[in-house]
Symmetry: D2
Subunit: 243 residues, 4 copies
């Protein structure tokens, strides 16, 4: 019998990048290529770059932030992809397909410290959860998930063994199964994603994302902050609304 | 114990519409509102409408086909939504969310006559299937699916009873569960969807879609053909490539 | 010699619409078609509609606002279209083309009360203007424009008389010439346009649009407010940021 | 008096790029980062890359072609930008603005060998032109354009001298004036642009673009062909329809 792998992380790995903060500032100025390269080489224009980027963020001049690109490789449970793929503009995806290949038996279990217990005054539109203090509750949840994963993956393998279309054989697989995906976005579309998929009490518009997509979003945020530190700071300083 | 519902259809129901073939022809001509209304009232301009629409389709002048809208209500298994949501441009979605409500126990079973048996010379990129002649194989497939559906839905209900976040409680639910969604598109984005999600040997670019999304696409196609018959005919006559 | 027409307005005329506030609330609830129609017929659910729409606006759940459509006919100078066409997502355009038809001699003159005189402490990124009190200045500006319009239109007609490609004959025409266009958008993309093309000191992000595009935007805003009054109010109450 | 510059070229200069053909093939395979880098380093997999890219082009699996980016700097007359900016999806623009800076007196004149004389059986929807054999006609056209450029730029400078809003001062400037712009796209959106803005008698859908935008498109095509030679060949071999 195939052994299942359980994991609780959502790995986001850097693949490729185009542009930096200076590219954004240069695009805003519509610099000629020669001037652009001089601008890149000039170590003393950080204040200028900072000024432009902050101004544009504050007044939502968004287009300069599209001259850049970031590609990452992500493994996440299907229920995370279901939310992620709803981001349409400035986002490109290539996910592995259950129609063409056998999906691997890798499944998601929530970490023990994930806020997950409904708070009493819970209201539908604004979910709020606390950590699970009752170990038995957590164990039961994980047992239920693992049992489901085991039985459905077994059914999946039996379906494949019948030589039926993998596209229907996989109908029994749960949304907790992991799937690999290449994602490509630009700084602007990325900031829009971050604004909706992270919780920040200080944001101008507060979002209440699913825990798992926020974990992924925070990983992308770290990669973004490293590649475009001035843009990232401007985003945070201006209420985390994408310009 | 909660009783499960199994179904094999993918109902697509008309909600709302804006525009007709004449709207598209009028947009191409950039008619003034008064002229537009006269154009709508004129029963004798079918030949003109036909000529414009065919010309634009043939030479891929696509923008006039965006002046129109169609909203439908669709119930489909999650594995169908996973494909549908990949259509980003000119497509809007509002799907029920497992984070805020209890998902109903309605699950998909393939109809007996669905082409599903791998053909010998099957190649990964171009799946080809024949109908299942062996009743036992079909029954085993359905048994595997139904058992998976039953056990996972039970686990789901047990998770909910623990008062944990529905967003994690549902991780065990299979992609064969139905989900409701409002979709809105325009004639151009709809034709692009049809070109990729239907199989037509005569098309200029042949697609090999998943059976279930083609079932849904054909239902949308029928609604589209009724609302925009001239556009629809031009689409078919020009190799089923969206203008 | 062809007589020129000068005008200072930017007419925006309603063409077609799909949906109302209730459609948006129903989409957010993913109502079945029957329930949707009952919802539309129910005169007593304004409070419910109001609650949903406000909640979604406040927390930027934007997708329900895409289930709707608005088409308008607009005549505006080319320099306005140049800005308008930069709105890409959820916006469709069909503009008359100088390649295929003779453009009419209709040109824009600023109204006398347009804020247009540079204020002393003018800074590039944040243009601020006051009305022109010096009638002579205003007259000179208009004379300069009218003279340019007259001479270039004459040159245009001479070019056409040479039987050259209208696509090059029109290269002399100024951006102050009017052009007709069909526009189609949805409530969400419309609100994004309004947020960037109107000046509101109370907005969460203040924009400083060109006078002429704000005139056009305000006309669209009026049509929008009439068709989707609850959505419009929620947009204004939440800082005029599109959900 | 300010001297005007006349030119007949449309310079397109490379700025930045992300990805190659191998990136597209790797995205289609959803390779892990380590495998991706090994794939990049492997000099012997051209046949594999070729096979994947051709298959995807033939069957219009378009998304892998979005994992890449190309930025260029372009100087073109405004009437070219008016067409270019209509490409919305996967295209980003930052153009210099007449609201914030003084536009330079650089204007477009058609080259003498531009096909520009209307052919007798000319039909509105399908413009066809031959070269101008009558030198006098060409000279008259250029004189008309140059005179218009001269007088309007003078009026523009006079308007600016009045200290009025540059946003209205420029209303007299013709669409033949040059404007600088940064453009960013991806291989997929670029191929869509090429399919509509170049004339190829062998294409599956023949387009009849404006001469000047085709000149620009051909320059971008050359840059594209160099950066993604396999993709480019597949595009041409499959009828020049974007996958």
């Amino acid at each position: 019998m195939t052994e299942l792998e359980f994991r609780s992380d959502i790995p986001v790995k850097f693949l490729d990048r185009m542009g930096t903060d200076k590219t954004i500032a240069a695009a805003a100025r519509v610099l000629e290529p020669e001037a652009y390269h001089a601008y890149l080489d000039d170590g003393g224009n950080d204040k200028d770059v900072n000024g432009i980027i902050n101004y544009m963020t504050k007044h939502r001049h968004g287009t300069p932030f599209e001259h850049g690109a970031l590609s990452c490789f992500v493994r996440a449970p299907i229920f995370v992809w279901r939310e992620w793929h709803r981001h349409r503009v400035g986002w490109s995806y290539n996910e592995e397909s259950g129609r063409y290949k056998v999906l691997e038996p890798v499944f998601y279990l929530p970490p023990a410290d994930r806020p997950m217990m409904k708070v009493d005054n819970w209201k539908a539109a604004r979910p709020k959860f606390t950590k699970c203090e009752d170990r038995e509750v957590y164990n039961t949840l994980c047992q239920n998930l693992m049992k489901s994963y085991r039985i459905t993956y077994e059914a999946y393998e039996q379906n494949l063994a019948l030589s039926v279309d993998p596209g229907i054989a996989r109908a029994c697989l749960p949304v907790g199964i992991y799937s690999r995906c290449w994602i490509t976005c630009n700084p602007r579309s990325l900031m829009h994603f971050l604004s909706l998929r992270t919780f920040e009490p200080e944001a101008k518009f507060i979002s209440y994302p699913l825990y798992e997509i926020e974990v992924a979003a925070r990983a992308v945020e770290t990669i973004f902050a490293k590649g475009w530190p001035i843009t990232y700071r401007a985003f945070c300083d201006n209420g985390r609304v994408a310009p």
